[in-house]
């Protein structure tokens, strides 16, 4: 494995930050502190972490309705994220978007997206810009198994292929499109097999193994940056919580539940790196504590931030409107 101590530390910090952030959102939601609805990324942390750790700061990502993890992994400020989820004026979208619409274009985070399948076409645009400007940047496009059945995914994968765009399509296959099992909504077992029909490489990896995800992402990024076009990376994963908070999850079968419970990318990471002597448990615990504190600060920031003033309703509809 070709990862420095700093990289490993950063990956671990990202995963535990996501986990902490999401569990905190879950509790806040249960207390009725969060309006609207939220979709949590718990169980899928290794994907955003493994992919984004293969990117550079100027690279971009597109995200989904389940986007908190992608935001954190791409370096979005957790204070502003939490404030957005709380609908506060200090949120990344000034409270106008909420959980499903968090974006920070300056960080290369081109938006969570409340429309399933909304991201892939945007990723093509980011990839096209990279080609035109010669920036060498790539775009990692995250989407779920449900989105794979939208026309936008097929259109975008084909477009990226014929234009040879630097896009990494990252299918986060957590087994369910809301309540509908992937085995029902998809005619083949592996979404990655569809890559063949676009003439691009496709790979399946264990989405709970951050190293496997990272390695596959590094390979795809290398190809993309070298002008060799897009790839499709399917990460098999498990959503530990409901589709949204409040979902009774009656549709999850026993096998899914038991396998899901056995999967924990953070636990596995800890086991591996301590086994190899790369980190001690104490060092990792310290990172846990830092992450916990950062999330607590984000929560306090969100709670103490002001609500937006109603003048914000009509701002930012246009840049100018005479």
């Amino acid at each position: 494995m070709n990862l420095s101590q700093d990289q490993l530390r950063s990956m671990y910090r990202t995963m535990v930050s996501i986990r902490n952030f999401e569990e905190t959102v879950k509790q806040a939601f249960a207390k009725g502190h969060i309006p609207g609805f939220v979709h949590l990324y718990v169980g899928e942390e290794a994907i955003a972490t493994g992919v984004c750790s293969a990117l550079r700061a100027s690279d971009t990502i597109t995200s989904t309705h389940r986007g908190h993890g992608h935001c954190i992994a791409k370096g979005c400020d957790m204070n502003s994220m939490m404030a957005e989820i709380y609908g506060k004026a200090t949120g990344l979208c000034k409270g106008k978007g909420g959980s499903m619409h968090i974006a920070d274009v300056g960080k290369g985070m081109l938006g969570a997206n409340g429309i399933v399948g909304g991201g892939p076409p945007l990723a093509c645009g980011a990839g096209l810009t990279s080609v035109v400007t010669g920036s060498g940047d790539v775009c990692a496009c995250f989407f779920g198994d449900g989105a794979c059945e939208q026309g936008t995914f097929h259109e975008s994968a084909n477009l990226a292929a014929i234009w040879n765009l630097p896009v990494i399509f990252v299918a986060e296959n957590n087994g369910y499109a809301q309540s509908t099992p992937a085995s029902y909504h998809c005619a083949i077992e592996n979404i990655a097999e569809r890559a063949a029909s676009y003439g691009i490489p496709g790979a399946v990896v264990d989405g709970s193994d951050v190293f496997a995800v990272h390695e596959a992402a590094v390979e795809a990024v290398k190809r993309a940056r070298a002008g060799q076009g897009p790839s499709l990376l399917e990460c098999k994963t498990y959503r530990h919580h409901g589709h949204f908070e409040g979902d009774q999850q009656t549709y999850k079968d026993d096998l899914y539940k038991s396998v899901s419970q056995g999967k924990d990318s953070i636990r596995d990471f800890r086991a591996l790196v301590t086994q190899h002597g790369w980190f001690t448990s104490e060092e990792l615990d310290a990172i846990d504590g830092e992450a916990r504190q950062a999330v607590e600060e984000a929560l306090a920031y969100a709670e103490s931030s002001p609500l937006p003033g109603v003048e914000e309703v009509t701002s930012d509809v246009y840049v100018s409107y005479p």
Binding site: G98, H185, V313, T314
Partner: protein
């Protein structure tokens, strides 16, 4: 007898139509095993079986397209959009194919596309919209938006029986907030017929959907001041029941046009034109609009609250108009 919620009324209406006519079937995301995101089709899979209650992948365009194809072949599909916002993903199938089949080919496509629209639940910009006007503007489509459990049940049944494509917008804020006792015997509510939900001689409020309830609340308050509102619930936007609207305006001479949808290109503009053209000489004051502002619908509760038209807006505008 216990009161029936709006959402249960839609469910009952669909259930009765599926029982009556075996050509009727439902399809959509999570409508089967899960019973629908808002539980409109809860229990349908067990009752009617998987050939008539079809879970689909996430593919709004294919859902609507398949419904059109089946309707062409003589079936009676009812397609669910999980949130009405997602209907934009099926826009081409609806506006180019469903709407124009009869005109182009002389072939009708009797299908219903239904889904929850509207704000008030902090759903944010993609889960709160009122998309009716895209379809009002497309000839060939009928557009229905009930405000009560009675109308929801009667209209969904009529929609299923209609020979033309019907867009059926259920207001999700009303789903579990409004309820009433429904007749035990079967009933239909005709498409294209407005309903005067409250009679009054001073000012007409023409509205639909969730705003009907704001108008009724305002009417209650204003009655205390001696101002009598007449609340006209359109129930159907296309075809528009001009006669009921114009009759009311002729009687009161003053009119407020109220909707939750945004202002420019909203249905109020069309109504204002119809009123100006046909009953201008009866007007005793300006035609007033109360609508959402021309912005996306924001997420944060105080912003959303500001965005949505309110009972207090109706009271304020009605008092202004009463002074004429």
């Amino acid at each position: 007898m216990s009161a029936t919620t709006y959402v249960e009324a839609v469910r009952q209406g669909l259930w009765e139509e599926m029982t009556r006519d075996e050509d009727v079937f439902v399809l959509g995301e999570d409508v089967g095993v899960y019973g629908g995101a808002f539980k409109v089709t809860a229990g349908f899979l067990d009752q009617f079986g998987e050939e008539r209650v079809l879970d689909t992948p996430l593919c709004e365009s294919a859902i609507v397209g398949a419904a059109i194809g089946a309707a062409l072949m003589g079936m009676r599909p009812v397609a669910e959009m999980q949130f009405a916002d997602f209907i934009s993903c099926a826009f081409d199938q609806i506006t180019n194919f469903a709407a124009k089949c009869r005109y182009r080919w002389g072939a009708g496509v009797p299908l219903v596309i239904r889904g929850p629209s509207g704000g008030g639940i902090h759903g944010g910009p993609f889960h709160s919209q009122n998309p009716e006007m895209y379809f009002v503007h497309t000839p060939g489509l009928k557009v229905v938006a009930p405000s009560t459990a009675y109308d929801a049940k009667g209209l969904i049944k009529s929609a299923v029986r209609d020979e033309d494509p019907v867009l059926f917008f259920e207001h999700k804020y009303l789903y579990r907030r409004v309820k009433e006792e429904l007749p035990s015997e079967e009933f239909l509510v005709p498409i294209g017929k407005a309903d005067v939900k409250r009679t009054g001689g001073d000012i007409s409020v023409v509205t639909y959907g969730a705003m009907v309830h704001n108008a009724l609340e305002a009417a209650e308050v204003l009655a205390g001041d001696g101002v009598e509102l007449e609340v006209v619930d359109l129930r159907t936007l296309v075809p528009l029941d001009k006669a009921t609207v114009l009759e009311s305006v002729k009687k009161t001479g003053k009119v407020i046009l109220l909707h939750e949808d945004t202002r420019t290109g909203g249905f109020a503009g069309e109504l204002a034109a119809v009123i100006a053209e046909e009953v201008f000489e009866y007007l005793d004051g300006p035609v007033m609009r109360i609508t959402a502002p021309d912005t996306p619908i924001p997420y944060s509760p105080p912003l959303e609250e500001f965005f949505l038209p309110k009972t207090s807006d109706v009271i304020r505008v009605a008092r202004h108009l009463a002074a004429y």
